[in-house]
């Protein structure tokens, strides 16, 4: 069995863009929540600017000139912004269209319908019904994942799409934790004042992990525990540890199918082992920002190694 290299690349990027669309929706949801109760001395606009930063869209916005509405529209519908939700859907659909034969009818139709309905994201809807818009985006992404999960052959092509999703998700979680905003907050003690607490819980909202947090830690919010959940807890489906567990599985499946191992297999296994050996205390001791920077770099490197190994 083999797959056209272009097909593998398109599936990989289709999954990355879809995951990016969903991440963006989650970030916007977090932004709306934080901006409702801005911290002392900052405005709603400042809060939205940090969201744009976390989304990697800081190059796209003029931080001084952009109004809150402009930022929200820029993150959701602006096609000029390559990372906006609409742009991500647009690109995911373009990738899917050129590899339609590698998708099931149900998965393709789900994505195509999302694309057809992008027109419904009008300016007034985005500004006045933001929570519904966010829900719609998350719902469409979940529907595609469900259709893909229920109907796609578990062959190499499935694994290329899965790898795209996981690499993107790991990247998003790492960047979310790296937003200055959070890194500069008091890290060691239980979160103090209400505004701080509000921010830290917002990160849990953005990762849909609020309930998971309570289930796992059953107590007060502490930065250490929140970071632990999103970095090192392999049972949290948006955590760095979870993503790498799945990445290793997907790569192992490819190694079995193809009868060959590559640099990407070694790197991913090494990263997963290192995550297992890391205690959250060490991360904070040596510095969260340094840890995250290194992890983001390693994740990008792995993405390139996968492309090299499979000729795309």
């Amino acid at each position: 069995m083999s797959t056209l290299s272009r097909t593998a690349a398109d599936l990989f990027w289709m999954a990355r863009y879809l995951e990016r669309a969903e991440s963006m929706a989650r970030l916007v949801e977090m932004g709306a929540r934080v901006a409702m109760l801005p911290a002392r001395g900052v405005t709603a606009r400042d809060e939205w600017r940090s969201v744009a930063l976390a989304a990697g869209c800081d190059g796209y916005f003029d931080p001084e000139a952009s109004s809150v509405d402009a930022i929200i529209l820029g993150l959701v519908v602006d096609r000029e912004n390559p990372s906006s939700i609409a742009s991500c859907f647009e690109r995911a659909r373009a990738n899917a269209r050129s590899v339609r034969t590698a998708l099931s009818v149900q998965a393709w139709e789900s994505l195509n319908e999302t694309w057809l309905r992008l027109d419904e994201l009008t300016v007034s809807r985005v500004l006045h019904e933001l929570p519904q818009v966010v829900d719609w985006v998350k719902g469409r992404c979940a529907q595609f994942r469900g259709a893909a999960d229920a109907t796609l052959l578990r062959d190499d092509r499935f694994e290329f799409a899965r790898l795209g999703l996981l690499i993107e998700r790991a990247d998003t979680t790492l960047r979310l934790l790296d937003v200055k905003h959070f890194v500069l907050l008091p890290e060691t003690q239980v979160v103090g004042g209400d505004p701080d607490r509000h921010r830290w819980t917002s990160i849990l909202v953005a990762t849909s992990a609020l309930r998971a947090y309570h289930w796992v830690y059953r107590g007060d919010y502490s930065p250490e525990r929140i970071v632990d959940l999103l970095l090192l807890n392999g049972s949290c489906p948006r955590s760095y540890a979870f993503c790498y567990g799945e990445i290793v599985q997907a790569l192992e499946h490819l190694a079995r199918l193809y009868g060959a191992r590559h640099a990407c297999h070694t790197s991913a296994a090494a990263t997963l082992a290192a995550i297992g050996d890391t205690a959250i205390g060490d991360v904070f001791h040596t510095g969260l920002h340094g840890f995250l920077t290194e992890a983001i770099g390693g994740n990008n490197r792995l993405s390139r190694e996968i492309a090299t190994a499979y000729h795309f």
Partner: protein
């Protein structure tokens, strides 16, 4: 004017089931169903792409819900004629790229072949597998009476539209299961398997492994991209673009996640002139450098063969009945439309004095462009065509305006008669395979005879009854 459903005393027999269904369904339901069908087409992405003209780049071909029906006997005669024509066209192609017997015998004028721009000197003396050039022959037919079918045009290169034949049926079966329960309709869904079998038949080597067949597309911006991906999908073949292919070590390869994989058969949906920049257009990005060398060495098969287009222009068309007699020794089952060739002085004189009665077409034109419908044209338009014909007579042919049959069609003002044509798809491999059905195109504008989708035409599901 012949209406295929409504005869002098009620519905003609093949249409009885459809007529009854229309009576019980009612117009309002039908209109609701029409909107539902449109949503289904959009959601599946069954569109043809029109980039660079503004507006929606991915357009729907209007789909009419009322099927077009052939009785079993009607179809048997059509099928015999279609298969006969496909055999004769392939025999002609082999002949003109070898000794040219039909030209030596004076049956077809040499100039029509050797001075035809679709004739490729590169193919002279080459034997494609099975001596087959046109593996998918699309024959455009019109009907003018109960037993009168005429061939309007042959398509020997890469006739498109077969995906609509398949999807129209899928949508109809999904929306009106009860309609199919009450009528014995021949299935069309074997087409993709038959196409794959035809491609595999043509592989240059036969090892223990099934041959690797690919569909070569110009890419997602091509108007027929949906069809390319649909056919690849239905056949389980890779849909490739030029950038996925390369020539090395005397073979054609595609780039895969395991490294290069050898390709045996290419069903190419790009024109001859783009196939290989080293042989044809040097500026082609759609083709593969060195492909023709590998092809001529017999190490990959191209479907259809380069140069197959010499059999399907509108001037060569006039001689197809002669080809059937010459190569097969049979009488043609299907007649041509009487055609005047402006290249012949006596024909030209007739055309120029009867422009107001005739349809004038460019020999190399397609898609309903570049034609004059005499009775509908203004005096100025006719004068313009007279000038063009005088300037380059060999570029034009003329035919009488036929009274095409009509089939009831859903229009904004209820059900009305609209003109139709028909394109069946005949597969030619080691054996000939013909799916019972085809693409019916319908001119949606009242009285219009132009069925092309680029000019306001729609499509219908086409039934062949099995009893």
């Amino acid at each position: 004017m012949f209406d295929e459903m409504n005869g002098d005393d009620g519905a003609r027999p093949p249409y009885c089931g459809v007529a009854h269904w229309l009576d019980t369904l009612g117009l309002a339901t039908l209109d609701g169903k029409r909107r539902e069908a449109e949503t289904l087409f959009r959601r599946s992405g069954i569109t043809f792409a029109v980039y660079g003209e503004g507006g929606d780049p991915e357009r729907l071909i209007p789909f009419d819900l009322i099927p077009r029906v052939f009785g079993r006997d009607e179809w048997q005669r059509l099928a015999a004629g279609i298969v006969q024509r496909a055999r004769a066209l392939n025999a002609f192609l082999w002949d003109v790229y070898h000794r040219g017997e039909i030209l030596r015998a004076g049956v077809v004028p040499e100039a029509l072949v050797y001075r035809n721009r679709a004739f490729l000197p590169e193919m002279v003396g080459f034997d494609p597998p099975g001596r087959i050039y046109a593996h998918i022959v699309g024959i455009d037919l019109v009907r003018t009476g109960p037993g009168e079918f005429r061939v309007l045009e042959d398509n020997c290169r890469t006739p498109s539209g077969v995906s609509y034949m398949l999807e129209n049926r899928e949508i109809m079966m999904r929306m009106f299961p009860e309609l199919f329960a009450g009528n014995r309709v021949e299935p069309v869904d074997g087409y993709a398997d038959q196409l794959r079998a035809t491609l595999e038949d043509m592989a240059p080597r036969h090892g223990p492994r099934a041959p690797v067949c690919v569909v070569l597309t110009p890419g997602p911006f091509n108007a027929a991209y949906y069809e390319h991906s649909y056919l690849a999908d239905q056949m389980g073949a890779e849909l490739v673009e030029a950038r996925d292919l390369f020539v090395d070590d005397g073979a054609l390869w595609m780039k895969t996640t395991r490294g290069p994989t050898r390709v045996d058969v290419v069903y190419r949906r790009i024109d001859d002139e783009f196939l290989d920049p080293l042989v044809f257009r040097p500026d082609s990005y759609l083709g593969v450098a060195g492909l023709m060398d590998v092809y001529r060495a017999g190490r990959v098969t191209l479907v259809s063969a380069p140069g197959a287009g010499v059999a399907d222009d509108k001037a060569v068309y006039c001689y197809v009945p002669e080809m059937i007699r010459f190569y097969l020794g049979e009488a043609p089952v299907l007649e041509n439309v009487p055609t005047w060739q402006c290249a012949l002085p006596e024909h030209r004189d007739h055309v120029l004095t009867h422009l107001d009665e005739l349809v004038v077409k460019e020999v190399h034109g397609s898609g309903g462009y570049g034609m004059l419908i005499g009775p509908r044209a203004s005096a100025a338009e006719r004068a313009e065509f007279a000038r063009k014909i005088a300037h380059d007579p060999a570029a034009f042919i003329a035919q009488p305006t036929l009274s095409l049959s009509t089939v009831p069609t859903l229009t904004p003002r209820g059900i009305a008669s609209r003109h139709v044509d028909f394109r069946p798809f005949c597969l030619v491999g080691r054996q000939i395979r013909l799916t019972p059905g085809g693409l019916t195109r319908v001119a949606l504008r009242e009285g219009s005879l132009v069925v092309n989708s680029s000019q306001g035409g729609g499509v219908k599901d086409t039934w062949v009854l099995s009893e």
